[in-house]
């Protein structure tokens, strides 16, 4: 009994992920395969977005894209930290955190700092920072469940929360990503697809101004494919921005008749 009991506890954990990562899915390299959730290659997940999710914040939003569930609160404009230098324009402060149960195996998230910086860069260009000099706007995101394409969802949700908080914006920011899997471009990938991807592209843009605030590209791409991927992302962004806009309108109109 002692021999078996002496094994490290980790060997006991019934994790599916470790065995899965070793075996590269042969499925994706073939020409025709079906996505795990049955979507078409260029089809996005159903997007659900709502504003005013957190009462104690200046503005907030909740976004649910498939299994990716994100909540963003915006606080401020409020007093900057004492140590900060004087600034004529407002400051933006972003933070992204994950719940311990967000991923399949508990507490395996490490790239929060990275995401916080990316979120900051994606939003910065859309905010009229001159409208709140000397103060700071805090944007805090919590990923309740990670189901793939987390960062685009966080960025879009944060932009909606900023609008809900009444922060002056040039335009809403919408974000979308594409995975390069085998020979195919896969829109709005889920976690499983992201783990097998050969390359990825994420575009963050302000659709009504036709401006891109952030573009990241990883992996091995050919120029025509990049072009195709960009078209796909920009199209998805403009559609998402419509959803976000209608969500804001919905939130603004019934408030007069609230009991």
């Amino acid at each position: 009994m002692a021999a078996k009991g002496g094994a490290a506890p980790a060997t006991y954990s019934p994790s599916l992920t470790t065995s899965k990562e070793k075996r590269r899915a042969p499925l994706f390299s073939e020409a025709d395969w079906v996505r795990p959730d049955g979507r078409g290659f260029h089809q996005c997940r159903l997007a659900f977005m709502r504003t005013a999710a957190v009462n104690s914040a200046s503005g907030s939003a909740y976004a649910e894209f498939g299994n990716t569930k994100v909540m963003v609160s915006v606080f401020g404009p409020r007093e900057s930290k004492k140590a900060m230098m004087y600034s004529d324009v407002g400051r933006l402060n972003c933070n992204v955190s994950y719940t311990t149960f967000a991923t399949a195996s508990r507490g395996q998230v490490s790239d929060n700092k990275d995401f916080s910086a990316m979120l900051h860069k994606a939003l910065e260009g859309s905010i009229i920072l001159e409208s709140f000099p000397k103060t700071t706007v805090d944007v805090f995101a919590l990923v309740m469940e990670s189901g793939g394409s987390d960062l685009p969802v966080i960025i879009s949700c944060a932009s909606l929360a900023l609008a809900d908080a009444g922060i002056m914006l040039y335009d809403l920011v919408a974000s979308a990503s594409v995975s390069y899997l085998g020979k195919n471009l896969v829109m709005d990938p889920i976690t499983e697809e992201e783990s097998y991807q050969d390359g990825s592209m994420m575009i963050t843009c302000m659709p009504s101004r036709n401006e891109v605030t952030q573009l990241t590209l990883t992996g091995d791409w050919s120029t025509p494919k990049i072009h195709e991927a960009m078209e796909l992302c920009l199209d998805a962004c403009s559609k998402l921005a419509k959803i976000m806009r209608s969500c804001l309108k919905e939130a603004a109109s019934p408030s007069q008749v609230e009991e």
Partner: protein
Amino acid sequence: MAVTGGSDLSSEMEVDAFRRLFPLRFHERHLLESIRPDGRSLGKARDTTIALGAVTSANGSALTKIGCTTMLAAVKLEVMTPTQESPDEGCIAVDFHMPPICSPAVRPGRPSEVAPVVAKQLSDVILSSGMINLKDLSLVSGKAAWMAYLDIYCLDADGSLFDAALLSAVAAFSHLQIPVVSLSDEGRIVLVPEGNGGGKFEKEPVNKEKRKLKLCTLPFSLTCALHKNYILADPTSEEESIMETQLTVVLDSSGLLVSLNKPGGSVFAHTSVIQDCVALARQRLKEVKLILNEAISDMDVD
């Protein structure tokens, strides 16, 4: 939220200003009329909702709202080797988090002071109430048992955090689905794939019958704010910040007292006040039990 008070719009601004400048007087004038700023009577708790299965990446989860206070609780199970002292018992780890999204007072990197206090209270109540028999978490005596990680996240902090957190924890445990596992040849615990239930799996599952955790009794709580001789059930964060002290009563589902907590404050609580609080908690217990049962039966239908 509807704000009672100034009935005509012209006085609206003045009421708001009065509320911010003289919060105590504002509330005391309400108390004289036996009503609270949000329209509740003194002994009434806010509207409560429970949604089970809010997070699919956990084995059990629940989202609860008491008024604006929102909590997300999730239970994740992992296999561990039990300790030598208790070879046939599992383990429960309780943690309570207040991420910066929940309140303007919490900043990233600077954890709130309330969170560890609530975490300790929760862990004490859950482990001491006898809700879960740790022996039920055992898989193979001396070799393998479940380690249940209960993590509760406060998504919106508006008073009575402990009540909402405990309710979400209880709801998450009632939603918990224990995965089917079997013993491999090397004596390791392996997960039986979900879809394979019908087809014969090569190994016999260890815990075929025990998919649901048996909850012996369910603890429910009510926090009351005490102010002079008033008792306010289920205070909001505004009320909590003004009132003199608080008292939290935890009862189990049969109405027996599990825990009583008065965290200091400037006034003493008389025996009669404590008895009144317990009576209010009894009433609240019936309400909450009904809401939880409804949420569970809704879940079974789906």
